[in-house]
């Protein structure tokens, strides 16, 4: 079989897409955004709750999409939980570099290892947007500001 295909659809990715972590609604979300990829119709909603220290106390997502977009969203929620916003931003920058096949020097070694399964996407330029959808939606959720009436 095509090596790059095996790399793309490796067990970690398929497992995340079949059994997404942090999937479902988040009550008391402080930030929320919906992402949409008009190319394929994939939708993802990212909800998160920031605590008083500006950490991602909780993050969940909902949506439908291809294995790549679902796995990416699932891994993202796993990795962002507990991070401060600057840490989250750094991780996101590193991730975006990684999936585009660029130097991802700002990724901590541990994060790089955890995201290793995503590196294969750089071989599939038409699919990079699938992988980045949830991350951009996370960014938009922060940019759109706090939900009024959300948790403190």
């Amino acid at each position: 079989m095509d090596e790059s295909l095996r790399e793309l659809y490796q067990e970690v990715i398929l497992d995340h897409s079949r059994h997404p972590r942090h999937f479902g609604p988040l009550e008391h979300a402080t930030h929320k955004a919906e992402g949409y990829n008009p190319l394929c119709g994939d939708r993802v909603t990212v909800m998160l709750a920031l605590d008083r220290d500006g950490r991602v106390a909780d993050i969940r997502f909902q949506g439908k999409g291809c294995a790549i977009s679902q796995a990416s969203a699932s891994m993202m929620t796993e990795m962002l939980a507990g991070r401060t916003l600057p840490e989250a931003q750094k991780l996101m920058n590193g991730f975006l570099h990684l999936v585009k096949g660029e130097e991802a020097s700002d990724l901590a070694l541990e994060d790089r290892e955890q995201l290793d399964a995503m590196a294969g996407i750089s071989e599939f330029p038409m699919r990079v947007k699938c992988a980045t959808l949830a991350w951009h939606t996370f960014r938009n959720a922060l940019d759109e500001g706090e939900i009024s009436g959300g948790a403190p």
Partner: protein
């Protein structure tokens, strides 16, 4: 419906394949299996050669200069118009307007024909299986002129509900805009009956023929259709050119579309008067080289036995359906009687884009997504489908490659 098997051999697909240089190439070291012709068809060598020959020997701008090449180019451009006229069996070449594609042809009708006739509350009838190019121009009239869009449903097999179509026409209907062949389902609509039912209530009909012109034999006089839009690149011709057929009586009453050179009679500081159709609707330098390519493509098609091509494509569809019958995880969408050679499907637990990516690495090109038909996707409750579309150059080996790649996708993804 499958054509009788004894008709199939009359189309020589081996010979036809030799006409298309791109079919000889490989992708990822694999044989190219091109099943995306409904998005854009490949070009026979003679189309490319006709364009090159023209550009190398007879090219200049049209309808402008008095010099030798301008006359030669004008002759070629107007000859191309007559080729389109012949292809559609229009009464007059002046009923053929060159556009940059099917989308522009429909936008032209929306802007130049319908917009001035719309009062708030007037209705436009369209089917749920329209391509966005036959939806959005009418949404413009909804947004800007207060038009109401009336949607005609399809049956579960994807065929058009003609009774629902007829009852959707009211005294306020100003136009019916219906596809001749669905780009997703392959459904061929009974255009002649649609036109007759609409005309009985005084409603003109626009047919989106971007797929229909490729696979059906179109006779606009027999159909009595008011407008018929087609695009060159799906007809084995070049991109950047399409055509609108419109009845002469409509054209004469239509306001101009784009303003610019070529479409005027006279321009002064205070006034402008317009040229007669078709020039009135062809502002600016038209796609001249492309017109030559389109004519070559249409001549190529008309030189083949089109009934045999249709039977050949239908036989491939039947073969594909037979081969995927054992895939109980695959749901085919669109099963209308007499449908064209398009196989749209949803694979259980597999997203269309993942399927298409795996197929791609096997050299199999299919389309995945909503196919610019989101209203239809909603009708069938799917976010996206994979679509294999067949053209005259496809063969059974293409179907075999598709089926084997699908089995592989299933193995990887499930």
């Amino acid at each position: 419906m499958t054509a009788p098997a004894n008709i199939i051999p009359t189309f020589d697909v081996v010979r036809a394949r030799a006409d298309f240089p791109i079919l000889a190439r490989q992708v990822y070291g694999k044989r190219l299996t091109y099943l995306d012709s409904a998005a854009s068809a490949q070009k026979p060598r003679l189309v490319l050669e006709a364009m090159t020959r023209f550009a190398e020997s007879d090219y200049a701008n049209v309808h402008r200069g008095v010099h030798f090449l301008s006359a030669a180019a004008t002759d070629a451009y107007e000859a191309a118009r007559r080729t389109v006229q012949k292809f559609l069996n229009a009464t007059s070449e002046n009923e053929i307007i060159f556009t940059k594609g099917g989308t522009e042809a429909i936008n032209l009708v929306s802007y130049a024909f319908l917009a001035p006739r719309i009062q708030p509350g007037d209705e436009i009838v369209l089917s749920v299986m329209e391509h966005h190019s036959n939806i959005v121009p009418w949404h413009f009239l909804r947004e800007r002129n207060g038009a109401v869009l009336k949607w005609v449903d399809v049956k579960n097999d994807g065929s058009l509900d003609v009774e629902a179509f007829a009852t959707s026409i009211s005294p306020r209907t100003r136009l019916a805009a219906i596809t001749h062949m669905s780009n997703v389902l392959g459904t061929v609509t009974p255009l002649k009956e649609i036109v007759a039912r609409a005309h009985a209530k005084g409603v003109p009909v626009l047919a989106d023929g971007c797929q229909g012109a490729v696979h059906e034999m179109v006779d606009v006089q027999a159909l009595d259709v008011d407008f018929y839009a087609l695009t060159g690149h799906k007809l084995y011709g070049p991109t950047g050119i399409g055509a609108l057929y419109a009845k002469r009586t409509h054209l004469k009453a239509m306001r101009p579309f784009n303003g610019g050179g070529e479409m005027i009679r006279e321009v002064t500081r205070d006034l402008v008067s317009y040229a007669d159709p078709p020039a009135r609707f062809e502002a600016g330098t038209p796609p001249i080289i492309e017109s030559v390519g389109l004519a070559a493509a249409l001549d190529y098609l008309m030189g083949l036995d089109r009934a045999a091509i249709k039977a050949h494509e239908h036989a491939l569809l039947s073969y594909a359906r037979e081969r995927v019958r054992d895939f109980n995880w695959l749901r085919v969408i669109g099963d209308a009687p007499g449908k064209g050679a398009i196989l749209s499907f949803e694979a259980e637990g597999m997203h269309a884009h993942d399927v298409a990516t795996i197929l791609d690495r096997e050299g199999v090109a299919v389309r995945a997504g909503h196919h610019c038909a989101q209203v239809l996707m909603e009708r069938f409750g799917v976010a996206s489908t994979s679509r294999a579309s067949f053209a005259l150059y496809n063969n059974r080996a293409d179907v075999d490659a598709l089926v084997e790649a699908l089995a592989k996708a299933r193995k990887i993804l499930s």
